[in-house]
Amino acid sequence: MTLLGKLTWQAIPLQEPLPLYSGLAVVVIMLAVAAWVLAKGYLPYLWREWITSVDHKRIGVMYCILAGVMLLRGFIDAIMMRTQQAMAYNAPGFLPPSHFDQVFSAHGTIMIFFVAMPFVIGLMNVVVPLQLGVRDVAFPTLNSVSFWLTAAGALLVNLSLVIGQFDRTGWLPYPPLSELRYSPGVGVDYYCWALQISGIGTLMTGINFVTTILKLRAPGMHYTRMPMFCWTALASNLLIVAAFPVLTATLAMLLLDRYVGFHFFTDTGGGNSMMFMNLIWAWGHPEVYILALPAFGIYSEVVSTFSNKPLFGYRSMIYATMAICIISFMVWLHHFFTMGAGADVNSIFGIASMIIAVPTGVKIFNWLFTMYGGYVRFSTPMLWSIGFIVTFAIGGMTGVLLAVPPADFQLHNSLFLVAHFHNVIIGAVLFGVFAGYIYWFPKAFGFTLDERLGKWAFWLWLIGFWVAWGPGYVVGLEGMTRRLQHYDVAEWRPWLLVAEAGVFIILLGIIAQIAQIVVSVRTREQRRDVTGDPWDGRNLEWSTASPPPSFNFAVLPDVTDQEPYWDMKARAREIGQLTRPEPQYEPIHMPRNTPTGFVTAFFAVITGFALIWHIWWLVLLGLLGAYATFVVFAWRDHDEELIPAEEVARLDRANRAARAAALAHRQLRRESQLESRE
């Protein structure tokens, strides 16, 4: 047993230009960014205000940044895959099978676990406590740990690019292919440990938000007065709490098979690989609703705000959301109709899968009726929402089609299936988080994003998506199965070339999004959000300054109805001034920043890496370090800091003054309009 376990110099792909140079490029970029941060002296600020922050707003922003960076990585994988398939007609293409298999596995893993999940969780982090009218989530330090563990998982996945390899089984490692006999390398281990680590983080998030939404709300905020986004966040986090332990258990079983020779899923010793299918999809299906439900919540917020109307059918939406939440646990077998479970079982799960389409359809109609009779403004978030409705209607339709078992018998694992899930994930989740980050960006940073570039990004993404994935449906109906490194069917080629073009249109969309951020930062003074309410919003997050102070609200709001902020605003506009007098300012206790999350993740990365490479002494060190971190955290005497009343007063008065000025200005304008009409 060597000191470094299985790790040797051969783990670094010196012979393979693609991973070598891309890895080198990433390292160079990271070093350059680090050097810039150090040279400008930003490190103390970053450490104090962001890395050790337990503020949900900061943590949420970091989640979204992680997601955005990983979107670029996953998208590069997508470009590589499409290019390989465009080239590899009766030709080897540029990616040998061992690489191509890693690329599509990494693409799926990164997009689901390190783009979609962090983006959705990030937005929930920023928004939910503000919408609930409270100061933070239930467990702020745990929140920080959750984020850093997710980042640790992302780091491990990306490390596999330069040290070792990633798994080659697809984004879900079905046995026996993922067992030691057929995947002897470290790829599957990288995958499993990265997801176990980030899975702990996600589970902690689920516990955190369920507790927050059920136990921490502003006075007077009954369940039926919560914003729709909080309802969908609740449903999503309940699903996280219920589903992620299944993922943890299943990956643990696979790891036990691989590391210690257990026989859960092996092809000898009595192992049952069908068990893996059932377990992993019992997690996998709720997972997609974990992603989709908050996206639906974002649409509810955006559509009602930009229609200047309350959400239509609020209670109906609650029923629909909780119905989706519960039924999502009863449909998992539709991912393997072709495993031969028999007609009775197949049709029951097929019908259950179709039943989920009912509450989803109800939601779409409720958004439609929200717009009906309102004043629709076509801001960028609204465009994303309308684009979503159109795109998702088709994607959902193909999903119901796949839920008919005999149809699935001819479409399973084909490009039709791949087009379907890209349709719904991009159409619902990605469009949703794009709408969400533009909508809540001013709240987090104090200025809005450039509208023109935002609209360009939307149109490029919408057109690019259909150009890239429309052909997927066609070529799936021409018998093309997924994950092919090369092929010899002439009819598929033109469609794959069209798909390739689509990916480049999306690339332009991404460039527009990056340009939007760069340009917006440079010209931010022109789009300052002075009052904290740039969109004429309806819920409590818009009653705070942009960005809010660390304590969110000087005094927790008293909630008497749904859309409490809209009521406040309506009355204020009537009387031309703020409705509530200046409150009695008191000092506020806020949780103290702590490096616990960052240090825990540091030891998690060490432990994960050591486990992957079988460096057992390092595993022990990593675990001891993690335990020590916990003990140090548990031993601290001061876990809160006091914000003095004067500071609270100063920040709150500034926002009140800005809002009063805006109200007065509005009053003046209305009076002059009335005068000019007379």
């Binding site: 507790t211 332990p245 943890t248 026989h263």
Partner: protein, 224 residues
């Protein structure tokens, strides 16, 4: 903090579960409409949700066990393997440790350091006895060649019972840390909340053990 045993009024909250108004705090209805719940409620609730997620983790191992119970690979089954006497003693140790844990909770409520440490030590000793017996059983099986690599059934058995054992071991580590924390930090609110979570954890593990010895040991040895 009112002493236990004071007269119960309608709407009073002697055990601070959080359903009655207390001075200075708006009426906490338990439905979130009185403002954010008190810290003790929030901590306990959150930990309870964690325990529910842990139950789901165990249910995966239970499900796998019942699926793989007949995959013997020509090897022994439950009847040949399990010694119910050993299981009975393990159960007694664990149940007794739960009782000791309950006594510890009372001592913590009274903020009595001596009895807290004594009952914690007792809880730990009984828990350690449980782990010792279980480890003895496991090593015995491995030595006979009936370890987890022998068959899928044994894999599932070792994983399910081992998962519980791993949780108990982690609990013992936590217990040891608490035994150090009480003398060092006293009965501060955070320490008491932490102990609340530990006791929830310990009792939950006991409940899961009842599931395990019923499904695995009792039903396994009774059915042919």
């Amino acid at each position: 903090m009112s002493a236990p045993g004071s007269a119960l009024r309608a709407g009073s909250d002697p055990y601070h579960i959080g359903h009655a108004p207390s001075a200075g705090v708006p009426e906490y209805t338990g439905h979130g409409a009185g403002g954010p719940a008190p810290k003790r409620i929030v901590v306990g609730y959150g930990f309870w949700i964690f325990i529910l997620s842990d139950v789901i983790l165990f249910s995966c191992f239970f499900a796998t066990y019942t699926v793989l119970i007949d995959a013997r690979n020509g090897g022994p089954g439950p009847r040949e393997l399990f010694d119910l006497h050993n299981t009975a003693i393990e159960t007694a140790c664990l149940l007794a440790s739960s009782f000791a844990c309950g006594m510890t909770s009372l001592a913590v409520a009274r903020q009595n350091l001596l009895w807290t440490e004594i009952f914690l030590a007792l809880t730990g000793a009984l828990g350690l006895a449980f782990i010792g017996l279980e480890a003895h059983e496991f090593f015995g099986l491995v030595a006979r060649g009936d370890g987890p690599t022998r068959s899928a059934f044994l894999t599932a058995f070792f994983a399910l019972v081992g998962c519980h054992g791993a949780h108990v071991t982690a609990g013992l580590l936590w217990l040891g840390t608490m035994m150090a924390q009480f003398p060092a930090k006293g009965f501060k609110q955070t320490i008491r909340h932490r102990y609340l979570c530990f006791s929830l954890f310990w009792h939950a593990l006991d409940i899961i053990w009842i599931g395990i010895f019923t499904v695995v040991y009792l039903i396994g040895t009774i059915t042919p």
